[in-house]
């Protein structure tokens, strides 16, 4: 949409682009002056012309177009007039614009990636096994067919009792079909239904979970798809957006150091529980000592005054009076936080006129005349303002990065060392720091400089560069006042969640569109990296440079490449463009995977998706992307599992996600508890379903060996059909729905448990076939034991003899009992449903058997079953076998389980044992401690310092700086122009009251 006009002076408007690039600061858009005046309906009606513009593309910062208005010369339109889809209008009452791109033509949609069909790893493995099993079915059928042919050749001619037509055999195709029908249940078709049911209920469990209920918005977690449930238990890489996901996207002035004394609230995170409160008063600075020192004439009180005055004066914030309150609107959230902080301390910034600012200190009003604004840019990393103080002195106030300020300190500057120390403390906490300094100017000095400045501003070429050079002249001989620390407010419990996830051996990559400094700061504040972590910066402006840096670093890592090191890799979007080139992407990935934390900054939405795709393709691991904004849609769709934070940034991310949660911290429960459980359940359910089908239906094969491969079934038809429907339908469901490997408490307490599942050792081809072979052995026992028992035929009282179905019913009963008890053996957590399922299934078979034996001749089904129940149940052999056969089958499973429990004791078994013996807690912790120190545990927090010698200068081993500042740069409206444009003293009050709270976020 092209901006035509707006409510603000000079047709400006503010937009938040956090949805697109994750940047926290507001951006300014300004309409072309030619059309800026068009604000009335009539004018709009008469607006006539055409717009020529480029084809839709995916570059957020590019746009070229021309507006041809009838009777006027063409007006060029650039990105500064563009309002993109996905941006949010802020601090602006209304705008009028012309829509250019819609739907799929919008840049946001151009950046979207196709949503791939998401299937879970487990499902893929299962499908593969089903295929193999299908193949096996054909093989068995073919073998049976060959057997039938041979048998027929050998015997059929002489079997007079089959009559003449019996001698003419069927053709082989028919035979094969008969056998396929005979064995077809080997492939568990019921599994699909069972699995769908199980997954649906698992999804419901996620939806119902009160622990993931965000009461503030009354939002529950929501599983938008149910076929990725088990994937949550195997996540290896977590790609997280920063803004809105890790952070709340609000800044708070938290601490400061003035004249070598730290002020501020030291006890962090005391307000986790009542976040509502802290949000309402989101300036958290509450250290009464500061004011005490100021009022009581502490030696540093003069500095404090200067410090706070600077905060009130040196900025580009615009105040708005709203009743008795003053609201600040700023394009930089940092500045807003500082001004707000100062206001709370009694230094209230009240009025801005084009050439002055007025502040109120302890009911006294001071007006500072603004002479010049030395603008902020990310190169300069500082911003200064030259004012004439109420007393008439000329003074330059400056705030900026510690590095640049310290370069320019005068020799007389005090507290340099102390402040530096404090800065380090702030930085380690992940606070955004700004150094505060000032210098007094003499009249002549200023006048001389002004000349230079005017000259520089008049230059048409390289004006910005010239101006910056000019600023350089006057920004010197600073006197340090102190430093501020702003908290980019994290969402609740983010550091705790991250450290838990790290312990669970999940690698966390932060992908953000925001600036590098901000990203690094957040990484510190959420404890993703510590101050001792060496940071590798990859910032290259050419392919060669990128390649070289990556190669150097890879070389330095040497053997450690590919292992996990306590390193952080920081890369920006530009460099990533090169790094993702085919030639070096593998190298880059190797390097990235060797680092514990990876921060990617300044990424376009597409790049986010590309990174996820890169990892997904090259690593055989499950990736999870979490984000909240429209710019995260790409990666959410691309990752194996996409999680949307249903936050404040609209529904885009949520709508494209597989799971939506309200807060980042819920990931912990979602992954560690739901993920683990679901994975455990689904795999058990699948394995068990295969097991039970193989056990029953392979018996058909065994029987074929004694009936000349004629295709006779040993069971009654309806019994076979109801096997999956009734007699063994419940145990897989209870396994899939209620099974727990360990309690929620243990899972959260020992995140290391997650690694047990992450590796996929619970379910892979090997495990699957072991289970199938186990089923084969069981079916062998289940067939041959009864066979041998009944072979003698003289087992019934009165010497009655039996028939094939008698044997069939023996076997069938044993199968049902064995299979149900096997489910019991698999069940680690018994609840009432497990009991119902297991005992109920066995009883249901007996009941059915009893009733079914009396059907004939009342119903014309199952004449063969008539009288079976009496005979079977009255046969002592049946009861003898009833005890023996299932025992023989299961005792070996039990035995192997015991052996495995003793020899290959994993963490899971250890914790399961802990849980089952709740009485002697002391002993448990002791066991666990031992366990923890054992090398077998994946130690995600390697405590030993990194001993790699880096030669490349891209590696930063020093303590963090913590400088970060968000401000609009290079916009149409310079900061100076912006400040000069407002005169809040004159501004009509009505405007403010009309302001719709929907549109603006109030600072």
């Amino acid at each position: 949409m092209i901006l035509i006009s707006s409510s603000e002076p000079q047709s400006m408007c503010y937009v938040a682009t956090a949805n697109l690039d994750g940047e926290t600061n507001l951006k300014i858009r300004q309409a072309s002056l030619e059309v800026a005046g068009i604000i009335k309906e009539g004018q709009l009606v008469n607006l006539d012309g055409k717009i020529e513009c480029e084809e839709p593309d995916r570059q957020f910062n590019n746009f070229v177009g021309t507006l041809y208005l009838r009777g006027k010369s063409p007006i060029s339109v650039g990105p500064d007039q563009m309002l993109l889809r996905g941006t949010q209008l802020k601090n602006t009452q209304w705008i009028i614009g012309v829509v250019i791109y819609t739907g799929f033509e919008t840049k946001l949609m151009q950046n979207s990636v196709k949503s791939p069909l998401k299937r879970s790893q487990v499902e893929k493995v299962t499908n593969m096994q089903i295929l193999i099993l299908l193949l096996l079915l054909f093989v068995i059928s073919a073998v049976s067919c060959v057997g039938a042919t041979i048998w027929n050749k050998m015997y059929l001619e002489n079997i007079w009792y089959m009559g003449i037509s019996g001698i003419t055999p069927h053709n082989h195709v028919f035979d094969i079909l008969v056998f396929i029908i005979l064995y077809h249940n080997l492939v568990p078709i019921s599994l699909l239904l069972t699995l769908e049911t199980v997954k649906f209920i698992q999804a419901q469990f996620i939806n119902w979970d009160e622990d993931m209920h965000y009461e503030q918005n009354d939002l529950y977690a929501m599983a938008r798809t149910s076929n990725l449930n088990e994937e949550l238990g195997q996540v290896k890489y977590l790609f997280s957006d920063k803004t809105g996901t890790l952070t709340c996207n609000t800044m708070a002035f938290k601490k400061c150091t003035i004249a070598g004394i730290i002020y501020g609230n030291h006890s962090d995170n005391t307000d986790d529980g009542n976040e509502n409160l802290s949000r309402a008063s989101f300036c958290e600075f509450n250290d009464p000592k500061l004011l005490e020192n100021f009022e009581d004439g502490h030696p540093s009180s003069e500095y404090i005054k200067e410090f706070l005055t600077l905060l009130c004066v040196c900025h580009t914030v615009i105040p708005e009076r709203c009743g008795n309150d003053i609201l600040y609107q700023a394009s930089s959230p940092d500045e807003a936080a500082l001004v707000k902080g100062a206001k709370k301390l009694g230094f209230v910034f009240t009025t801005r006129t084009p050439y002055s600012v007025t502040i109120e200190v302890m009911t006294e009003t001071h007006t500072f005349e603004i002479l010049n604004i030395l603008e902020f840019s990310s190169n300069r990393k500082r911003m200064s303002i030259i004012v004439r103080t109420p007393a008439g002195h000329l003074r330059l106030y400056c705030k900026g990065a510690d590095t640049v300020i310290y370069e320019r300190l005068s020799k007389d500057s005090l507290f340099v060392e102390d402040t530096l120390k404090h800065l380090e403390i702030f930085a380690t906490e992940g606070l955004r720091t700004l150094c505060i300094a000032y210098t007094d100017l003499t009249e002549t000095e200023y006048q001389d400089w002004l000349q230079e400045y005017k000259k520089a501003s008049a230059v048409s070429q390289n004006r910005i560069q010239r101006l910056e050079e000019c600023y350089e002249i006057i920004e010197k001989e600073f006197l340090l006042l102190g430093a501020t620390a702003i908290e980019d407010r994290l969402q609740a419990n983010v550091p705790e969640t991250i450290s838990t996830l790290l312990k669970a051996n999940i690698k966390i990559w932060v992908l953000t569109g925001d600036k590098q400094e901000t990203a690094v700061n957040i990484a510190f504040s959420c404890k993703l990296i510590s101050s001792t972590t060496p940071r590798i910066y990859l910032n290259a402006d050419s392919f060669e440079a990128a390649q070289q840096t990556i190669n150097h670093n890879c070389g330095d890592l040497g053997n450690l490449l590919g292992k996990e090191n306590d390193l952080a890799l920081i890369i920006d979007g530009e460099t990533l463009k090169y790094a993702l080139r085919f030639e070096i992407q593998k190298k880059f990935l190797d390097l990235a995977l060797s680092c514990r934390a990876v921060l990617c900054c300044r990424l376009s939405p597409l790049q986010k998706a590309e990174i996820v795709d890169l990892v997904k393709k090259h690593e055989e691991a499950i990736t999870l992307a979490v984000g909240d904004g429209a710019n995260d849609v790409g990666m959410i769709r691309m990752a194996h599992v996409g999680v949307g934070i249903s936050g404040n940034e609209g529904m885009q991310a949520t709508n494209n996600s597989d799971y939506s949660i309200a807060q980042f911290r819920y990931l912990e429960k979602l992954l560690l508890v739901h993920g683990t459980w679901n994975y455990f359940r689904v795999t058990k359910c699948i394995l068990y379903s295969f097991y039970k089908n193989v056990v029953l239906y392979i018996i058909g094969l065994w029987f074929s060996f004694v009936n000349g491969f004629s295709g006779q079934i040993i069971f009654e038809h309806w019994c076979i059909s109801l096997y999956n429907v009734i007699f063994t339908s419940l145990p897989p469901l209870t396994l899939g729905i209620f099974e727990k490997c360990c309690s929620q408490k243990s899972l959260l307490e020992y995140p290391q448990l997650y690694t047990v599942f992450q590796t996929g050792e619970m379910f892979n081809t090997k495990v699957f076939w072991i289970q199938c072979i186990n089923a084969l052995i069981h079916s062998f026992i289940l067939f041959w034991f009864p066979t041998k028992m009944l072979e003698h035929d003289m087992i019934l009282r009165h010497g009655y003899t039996t028939d094939y179905l008698f044997l069939g019913n023996f076997i069938y009963s044993y199968v049902v009992v064995t299979v149900c008890l096997k489910a019991g053996l698999e069940t680690t957590s018994w609840n009432r449903f497990s009991h119902v399922a297991i005992w109920g299934s066995i009883i249901s078979w007996i009941l059915f058997f009893s009733v079914y034996s009396f059907f004939w001749p009342i119903f014309s089904v199952a004449p063969e079953m008539t009288g079976q129940i009496n005979m079977v149940l009255s046969c002592p052999h049946f009861w003898m076998g009833f005890l023996l056969v299932p025992t023989t089958c299961l005792i070996q499973n039990f035995f192997w389980k015991l052996i495995k429990n003793t020899y290959k004791r994993g963490l899971l078994e250890e914790i399961q044992e802990l849980e089952s013996r709740k009485d002697s807690i002391l002993e448990h912790s002791e066991i666990f401690e031992k366990r923890m120190t054992a090398a077998s545990l994946a130690v995600s927090f390697s405590t030993q310092p990194c001993e790699i010698f880096f030669r490349d200068d891209s590696v930063d081993l020093s303590a963090p700086h913590g400088y970060a500042f968000s401000q609009t740069e290079g916009a149409v409206v310079t900061q100076e122009e912006l400040v000069r444009a407002y005169d809040t003293a004159k501004m009509e009050n009505s405007r403010i009251s009309k302001r719709s709270s929907d549109f603006s976020e109030i600072f």
């Binding site: 209008l89 089959m162 529904m651 004694v706 004629s710 008539t866």
Partner: protein, 362 residues
């Protein structure tokens, strides 16, 4: 799972949440009751056994299995059983029967044998066939339940390949099973002395499951049985029609003939026994079969050599657990022994691990 692939395009560039969206959200977050099921907090318990419990279980189960096994073996050994395979003994008859043209010729064969010990109690006589596949798919199917119920003697629907004769007359009883019914006659004689041959009294009835005799098999009528089979033909391999199986006892004639019913219950294996006669315990035989010399007089009708099969006749007593099968007893004993062994193995492993642990600690 249909996923929302297309985004709903936002109407306006400015994306603020409309009321509708809010309502939608509200709707999504149904208020679940905080029940234990929904929060997955159902009380559950974990099966966990201490090492001691496991050993106890293994030992106890092992001992139990072992004891049962021994009991079963003992009871099986108590059974007295005599099996006489008469395929080779009656070789001449067997050869004759291979040729179908000799169907109307009689062939008898007598087999003397000596019973060294008295067979006490009920004695059962079985015939046993080797290599006769009663479990072939098409064989098992080839019968008409409706016919055998006496409902409609002309119902031969499922009886292929023995539905009708070449004259299209329905067969009763139809089907391959009925057609191939065992038709040897076995008579046991007790030789008290060279001159005194006593035919051992045997019961022809009471050989079938109750349900067979009273539910599954019914004659069309008790009286004038032959009238009800008018319009049907006897099976091709039979010598007399169904209503002449036992003319002396109407309760054992027609479809209700015990030998017929026993045969119709198709065996699971190609080698099987079928109950043929029960000892009628009177006179000399009130305690069972006394020791002494006996003869089987067999009228040899049933051809088996053609399909490389064999025939045998069996005399056996039974215990509470049936015949002399030792498999179950063996299986129990072996399982018991195995359980003991594995519990010892487990103990050894545990001991080893404990040692390891201890040495680790040091």
């Amino acid at each position: 799972m249909s996923r929302n692939v297309l985004n709903v395009p936002e109407v306006c560039l400015v994306s603020y949440r409309t009321n509708m969206e809010k309502e939608f959200q509200h709707h999504l977050s149904r208020m679940p009751e905080n029940s234990a099921i929904k929060q997955q907090k159902l009380p559950a318990h974990r099966l966990h056994f201490s090492n001691q419990a496991i050993f106890t279980i293994f030992f106890a189960t092992g001992a139990f299995c072992f004891c049962i096994g021994i009991i079963l073996l003992l009871s099986a050994w108590k059974v007295q059983e005599i099996e006489i395979n008469y395929t080779n003994i009656c070789e001449d008859c067997a050869k004759m029967r291979e040729n179908a043209l000799n169907f109307d010729k009689q062939c008898t064969c007598s087999i003397p044998f000596n019973l060294q010990k008295t067979m006490k109690g009920d004695v059962y006589m079985y015939y046993k066939l080797y290599g006769f596949y009663q479990n072939l798919y098409r064989y098992v199917l080839s019968r008409s339940h409706n016919q055998l119920m006496g409902k409609d003697v002309r119902d031969v629907k499922d009886c292929a390949p023995f539905k009708v004769t070449s004259n299209k007359i329905p067969i009763a009883p139809c089907g391959a099973i009925a057609n191939s019914m065992f038709n040897d006659t076995i008579i046991l004689s007790y030789i008290r002395s060279t001159s005194e041959h006593i035919q051992v009294p045997m019961l022809k009835t009471g050989l079938t499951w109750w349900t067979d005799k009273y539910v599954k098999f019914q004659n069309p009528s008790f009286r004038n049985l032959s009238d009800h089979f008018v319009g049907t033909e006897k099976p091709p391999y039979w010598q007399e029609p169904i209503y002449e199986l036992d003319t002396s006892d109407p309760g054992n004639n027609g479809f209700l003939n015990d030998d017929f019913i026993v045969w119709m219950r198709t065996a699971a294996f190609p080698t099987f026994k079928k109950l043929y006669r029960r000892l009628y315990r009177v006179k000399y035989f009130s305690d069972g079969l006394p020791a002494g010399n006996y003869t089987f007089d067999i009228s040899y009708n049933f051809p088996v050599t053609k399909f490389q099969g064999e025939k045998a006749v069996i005399l056996s007593t039974l215990t509470w657990n049936g015949g002399s099968s030792i498999f179950l007893g063996l299986a129990y004993t072996v399982t018991g022994v195995f359980l003991w062994m594995s519990s010892f193995a487990l103990m050894a492993i545990q001991g080893k691990m404990r040692k390891k642990k201890l040495s680790h600690r040091r």
